[in-house]
Symmetry: C2
Amino acid sequence: MKATPRPYHHGNLRESLLHTAEKALEVGGVPGLTFRELSRTLGVSHTSPLRHFANKQALLDALALRGFERLSAILSRAVKDRGQNFNARLMKLARAYVGFQTRHPALCQLMFEAKHRADAPRDLMEASERAFSHGPAIFAEGQANGEVTDGDPARLSLVAFAALQGLISISTNGKFKGLPLNLLVSEIIERIIQGFRP
Amino acid sequence: MKATPRPYHHGNLRESLLHTAEKALEVGGVPGLTFRELSRTLGVSHTSPLRHFANKQALLDALALRGFERLSAILSRAVKDRGQNFNARLMKLARAYVGFQTRHPALCQLMFEAKHRADAPRDLMEASERAFSHGPAIFAEGQANGEVTDGDPARLSLVAFAALQGLISISTNGKFKGLPLNLLVSEIIERIIQGFRP
DNA sequence: TCACATTGTTGTCAACGTTAACATGCTGTA
DNA sequence: TACAGCATGTTAACGTTGACAACAATGTGA
C-alpha cells in the first residue's frame, strides 16, 4: 500500500555503509562514526551493519583497506609518465601523496593506525606495501637513468616519504606556521633531490 | 571501625587520575581509557573525575599538555651542553625526540591530535611551541658558529623534525622494514647535516 | 519445489559519558 | 574557636553505543 516501502533487503548495504562511513569519518573522526548513526542515515535497523562487518574495527579496517587502494591508484597515476625526468616525477609523486592526505586527513590517520596495529589484517598490510611501492620504483628508474645516486632505492624513498609524512604530521590545516604546505613540499623535495644527485 | 576506611576525600585525585590515565592510555589507547575504569582503579566513584576534568576531552588535553612539558624538558636536557659542536647536538636532540616518541607512542599521538584540533586550548599550543623551540635554537647557534648554512633556523629545523616525525609515523614497533629506528635516525640526521653545511 | 544460506529486524544487555541532587570535609574569617 | 562557604566526593538516573541472540524475510541452487 505504501508508496515505496523499502524492500526488506537493501541490496547494496555493504557498499552504502562504506560510502557513508567515510563521509562520517571525515566529519567526526572515529568517535563520530557509529553503527547506529550509519543505520539511521541509511534507513536500516541498528544491527544490520553487523551482517557485513563483524564489529566496528572490521568496518574501520575495510575503510583503511580501500584508502590504501585509492592512494595506490592515485600515486600510480602520478608517476605513470615515464617520459619525464626523475625530478619531475618525484615532485608529482610528492604532490599527489600530500594532496591525498590533505583531502582525506581522517581516513589517512585511520590507515596508519590500522597498519601499525599488531594484529593488522594481512590484506591491509599488502595494500599498504603496494601503495608505498611507487616511491622505490621511480628511484630505481632514476638510478637506471643515472639521475639518482646509488643505494637501496627503498632506503632513498624512505627518506623522501619520511620528510613528507613528517611535514604533514607537524602541519595543521594544510599549513605550518602560516606557510602553505605546497610551498614546503617543493622546498623539501628540491632539497632532497639536491641531496640525491649522483 | 574498618581498618582503613578510605577517607571521604582522596586528597590527590587529580594527580592520581593523570598518572593512572597515562598508563591506561599506553595500554589501550583512547578507547581503553575510561573514567569508570580509572575510578575503579583508584577506588573512587565513577563520577568523581568530573570534579577535576569537565569531560573526557579535558582529561586528554591535560595529558597532552603534560606530555609536551615532559618532551620539552627532555629535549632541553639533550641540547644543554653548549660546548659540543652542532652535529653532536643535533644528533642528541634527534635521539631524544625519537626516544620519547618510541617510549610513549600513544601519548605522542594524543599530543599531536590535541595540537591539531581546531579548538585546542591555548596553554597546550604554547607548550607545544616551547617543546619545538629547541630545534631552531641549536640551528641558530650553529649558524652563529658558522657550522650551519644561512636561512631561517625555524625552517631548517622544520626539515629535520619533519624527517624524524615522518620516520616515526611510517615505522612500526620501533622498526621500519626490519631496520631499527636508531640506525635510520643516524642516517637521516647525517644526511641532513650534510645538506645543511654552509 | 523447497531446503538452506544470506540478509535484515526486534529485543536485550552491559558499559560508557554526562548531568543533577546530595553528602562530606576543609578553610578562611569573624 | 565557630561556622559559613566552597571544594571534593557520592548516588541515582538518562541517553547513547557496540554487541549478542532469536526471529523473519528474501534469494538461490539442487
